[in-house]
């Protein structure tokens, strides 16, 4: 082997963690970058642009999971790309059977609908769980700040949706009726005394009543995440189903870790299988019972398995 060939050897440690995806062209790869919650400082963005111009062909692709992907990267440049991005500092993401980079909306910082700090949750999960091998298949986590759910949380293996439980302090209410007006779910109606009545079974936990209330008579009695588990998209989509309500933001990482633990254990010997399909095989109660031990105040009493979406193509199974 000539010296020239030796010098082009690639550090395989970079490849092992994933994030390098084979393209059609000879020697060309996509390099997926780690951008939790889809937010990044422009300094890092400039570094990414610099690397894309130098090693790619001056283009990047914005992935559907909020990542920036460098395209048309020659595998011989991997080490240089990783090193130069590192000056950003920008890290490479993952692929394969691992916990992926979490997605998130803008959350409560600047979005008027946001109820919880989804960006903070995404960063925490990225820091603590990103890249964890599942042993089976990919594992996706997403955070939506409110029930509008722009990030489509229920299509994730574990999906979080911001939620608040409203309570009225009658003394502060001026009876303007704005909450009744704003509530799209018929969870508030005006009583004969001119004060609003709450109809809990209709509430979706969106918090519109709090946001519109001129006197802050509506307050959040509980705040946290609605958690749906077992979602996925692709060839055989499943919508994740309800496992917990008002899970406090600070328990998110532990909750995901508990789900992961159950997944690894129950999928043993089944090869490449997603969490949703494991739940359908084992029954939702098995996971519900496990989670209830650890998160008793937040896990729901009963649920249903992740629901299959009729794609109308292929054979049902």
């Amino acid at each position: 082997m000539s010296d020239e060939k030796k010098s082009t050897a690639v550090d395989l440690k970079n490849l092992k963690a994933g994030g390098f995806i084979k393209e059609r062209g000879k020697d060309l790869f996509t390099v997926r970058l780690r951008v939790p919650g889809g937010r990044l400082p422009v300094g890092r963005l400039k570094k990414i642009a610099e690397v894309a111009e130098k090693y790619g062909q001056g283009m990047v692709h914005l992935s559907v999971r909020q990542s920036v992907e460098l395209i048309n990267i020659n595998f011989r440049d991997f080490d240089a790309v990783v090193a130069e991005l590192g000056e950003g500092p920008q890290k490479v993401a993952s692929c394969g059977a691992r916990v992926r980079v979490p997605t998130a909306c803008g959350g409560c910082e600047y979005n008027p609908n946001g109820l919880v700090d989804t960006q903070k949750s995404a960063l925490e999960v990225d820091e603590k769980l990103f890249g964890t091998p599942t042993g089976h298949h990919k594992f996706k986590v997403g955070f939506a700040g409110c029930p509008f759910d722009c990030p489509k949380s229920a299509t994730n293996d574990v999906g979080f949706q911001g939620a608040i439980w409203p309570v009225l302090s009658v003394e502060e209410c001026i009876g303007c009726g704005l909450c009744d007006k704003s509530c799209t779910e018929d969870a508030i109606t005006m009583g004969e005394d001119g004060k609003p009545r709450f109809i809990p079974e209709n509430c979706l936990y969106c918090g519109d009543c709090l946001k519109v209330c001129p006197t802050e008579a509506w307050r959040a009695e509980k705040k946290g995440y609605t958690v749906r588990i077992g979602g996925k998209w692709g060839r055989r989509p499943l919508v994740g189903t309800l496992f917990a309500e008002f899970l406090p933001e600070e328990q998110v990482v532990d909750f995901i870790a508990a789900v992961l633990e159950w997944y690894k254990e129950k999928a043993e010997g089944q090869g490449r299988i997603r969490l949703g399909d494991v739940i359908r095989a084992e029954g939702a109660d098995a996971l519900l019972a496990r989670l209830r031990e650890r998160f008793p105040g937040f896990v729901v009493d009963a649920t249903i398995p992740p629901q299959a979406i009729a794609t109308q193509i292929g054979k049902d199974r």
Binding site: P112, I174, C176, L178, K181, S182, K211, V212, P214, T215
Partner: protein
Amino acid sequence: MTTVDLRGVTCPTNFVKAKLALEMVDTGEVIEFLLDDGEPVKNVPRSLKGEGHKLLGLKETDGYYVLTLEKGEE
């Protein structure tokens, strides 16, 4: 009291017009806005509250709403 008629003005133009009207009055002064039913009455009070103004009341009159508000700190 200043009354600003925002009926027939759609979101978010009605909110921007309300903001401009508020620039013309002093902090602590009370001002009235006339708002259409539907999206305007759901969005405008909430947005003005978010800008630090104090909502004093909301009354329905002949199919539209009268929002009374005290201007907050600049």
